[in-house]
């Protein structure tokens, strides 16, 4: 795939090209390298097509008009990036993408912010259940749903003299099932919410 920048004879044109793509890169930094390259390639193809069809004499003038017609990166790249995140950073595609998606939703207003916080808390809870279940074989006496002598019950790692493990090794299947179910549920909610 040929997507490299053209070599202009005029320094002004070369500079304008470089500046334009620096802005594109900066505005698309939240995306993965592949997604950024995709956007870069499409803009390159567009600008070059527009550039070769211009009848202005100088390279810099032809490029200036092509850029003017396409618009400043600030006018269309953020919306494009937002959509790429929603499209490609689908739930289940990694923690970084998930965080980007939550951050993106949080910037869309108070309702989205609150819902993002709730979803973020939900994911933390799901990971917590997973880790408790996974750590049970490592700390069999201290990890689980544990009740202490003073009537306090907690899920996690507890180390006190008088304590009763309420679930024993049942915490493992239960923890994994709850964690998995929560993630599936939250993924669906996040997808539905992102499209709203």
């Amino acid at each position: 795939m040929t997507g490299s920048a053209p070599e202009f004879r005029e320094q002004d044109a070369q500079q304008a090209w470089t500046q334009y793509f620096l802005q594109v890169d900066s505005l698309s930094s939240a995306l993965t390298a592949r997604q950024r390259r995709d956007i870069r390639l499409e803009i390159t193809a567009h600008l070059l097509e527009s550039y070769v069809l211009r009848s202005e004499e100088s390279e810099s003038e032809r490029l200036r008009v092509a850029i003017e017609r396409l618009g400043s990166p600030a006018e269309f790249v953020p919306g494009w990036v937002e959509d790429r995140l929603l499209h490609d950073a689908a739930p289940g595609s990694g923690v970084r993408s998930l965080l980007q998606l939550l951050k993106l939703n949080a910037r869309r207003g108070a309702t989205h912010l609150l819902a993002s916080l709730a979803l973020g808390f939900g994911y933390l809870l799901a990971f917590y259940f997973f880790f408790v279940a996974a750590l049970k074989p490592v700390f069999p006496d201290n990890v689980g749903l544990i009740s202490t002598g003073d009537g306090f019950t907690a899920l996690g790692y507890i180390d006190t003299p008088e304590m009763v493990d309420l679930l024993g090794y049942w915490i493992m299947p239960l923890g994994f099932i709850i964690s998995f179910s929560l993630i599936v549920f939250l993924d669906r909610m996040l997808q539905r919410f992102s499209r709203a």
Binding site: M1, T2, E42, A45, R69, G71, W80, R84, H87
Partner: protein, 124 residues
């Protein structure tokens, strides 16, 4: 005759209101037109914009098409593929999916309903 300042500011406000209204209309229309153009065959960004400018009888801010294409792809209405060219940069071709054809048909029906409604209003 001197112009009443409040009338002048009202007229400016109305003009701004109309601008916004027209922008909303164009946005809604653009989605429909993109699907119409793609229903006639696959196309790439630059050529698609040239076709749309003919329909809209005006030049459009070319960059605005890309977030829209991305959204339509996310909605599953269109798909894309990269095509390596013998000369020049690779092109990303967009084509309409079966779901896009269905949505386009429904949109067409609704546009017709709106058109009939407007015609009915103007003749009543």
């Amino acid at each position: 005759m001197p112009q009443n300042p409040s009338h002048a500011s009202n007229s400016e406000a109305h003009e701004a209101f109309l601008e916004r209204w027209q922008l909303q209309l164009r946005k809604g229309l653009l989605v429909y037109l993109v699907l119409v153009v793609l229903s006639k065959g696959e196309s790439y960004g630059y050529r698609l914009i040239a076709s749309l400018s003919e329909y809209l009888e005006s030049d459009m801010a070319e960059g605005t098409i890309y977030p829209l294409l991305s959204r339509l792809q996310r909605e599953g209405l269109i798909e894309s593929r990269w095509q390596i060219m013998d000369s020049g940069p690779a092109r990303k071709y967009y084509s309409i999916r079966p779901a896009g054809h269905e949505v386009l048909a429904t949109m067409g029906d609704r546009w017709k309903r709106i058109h009939r409604l407007l015609e009915g209003l103007s003749t009543s």
